[in-house]
Symmetry: C2
Subunit: 194 residues, 2 copies
Amino acid sequence: MITTRKTNKRQLILEEAAKLFKQKGFSGTSMRDLAGEVGIEAASMYNHIKSKDEILELICFRVSSTYISQLAEIEATAAPYVEKIKSLIRLHIRLMIEDGAAVSVGNHDWKYLREPALTEFKQARKQYEKGFAALIEQGIAAGEFQPVNVSVALFTILSAVRWVELWYRPGRELSAEELEDNIITMLLTGLEKK
Amino acid sequence: MITTRKTNKRQLILEEAAKLFKQKGFSGTSMRDLAGEVGIEAASMYNHIKSKDEILELICFRVSSTYISQLAEIEATAAPYVEKIKSLIRLHIRLMIEDGAAVSVGNHDWKYLREPALTEFKQARKQYEKGFAALIEQGIAAGEFQPVNVSVALFTILSAVRWVELWYRPGRELSAEELEDNIITMLLTGLEKK
DNA sequence: AATTATAGCAAACGAATGTTTGTTAGTTTG
DNA sequence: CAAACTAACAAACATTCGTTTGCTATAATT
């Protein structure tokens, strides 16, 4: 036990913060709310974190860097573009299920980031979207995908995967894997019977 | 000009409020912010509205009742289920483009509604989702749709249409109608080429 | 013309905000 | 054992919050 003491409490604060931010939004969550959830006084939290803004930054950038590094892994594999896109969809769903609160913060509360973090985060997101879009574009060029507008395809996929956060509860009708399969079917082959 | 005076300013407040709520969230928007946008002092707004909460309620319920009445219209038409779903997708996209700020509030800030408005709003939304889901279910039964999980299909469609709010700017690459066509293609026939 | 209603303002209200300070135990390090 | 560090607290900070009050000028109604 070398650094577990400080690190643990800090981690706990970040976890509870993500939950509260998801539930009540960044502005709607007070440091006293958060402290109550952590089990200490608001003032005591400043022994572990610099500011409320820092909490938001830590959550957002952990999420964005997770996405970016996972995208890089998928890009590096030698697989058909269909499979790469499927992997990305599965990644999004899995992260949403495993780390839903943080992902939700990265989806909604990032707008409360202060400069320069705000610009940095936007750039990271744009970088991710560019990489994702490139895979779609190449998949179209390779004849694996329909010649649909790339931005439309990209954002439809990214959004279609977000509702999991609002809807999915473990032990509900569908398992995580069934959920992934259903969403992938929906996005890749469409609703209509042909 | 009988009641235009009061109604106009009240309407202006609601419009500016929707814009600000979308931009900075309900909690992140102060009455002084809003007043500044309207061009009067915060105190003066209370000549037109009862409270900040009332503003939120008015915006949310105007949106929800719009969706519900439009759904009823579409349900009443005699058309294949494919066409009904297409109409609903077009409705969502069009409302998002024409009244994006309010729709955004109805999508995100409704959670700041106070009881009993909160419960009432949730019920209205659930009612809408039930009606939408029924159309998908009947479409599957009629053999028009793939036998996909209905909830997955419903929420994929509802979410896939939300990103328009974040992305679409009039006079961008795609016209509104092209946008609708592309999203419908994506959702009904899927990304994959077969 | 007299009266009433409307719509604005400045000032103030108590409550809540994020954060700082001073202090105090308990723990780790020299 | 002494010194330094950690992590907690209560109290207070200035600021901002939504809202109320008291008042004034203008507009509408009688």
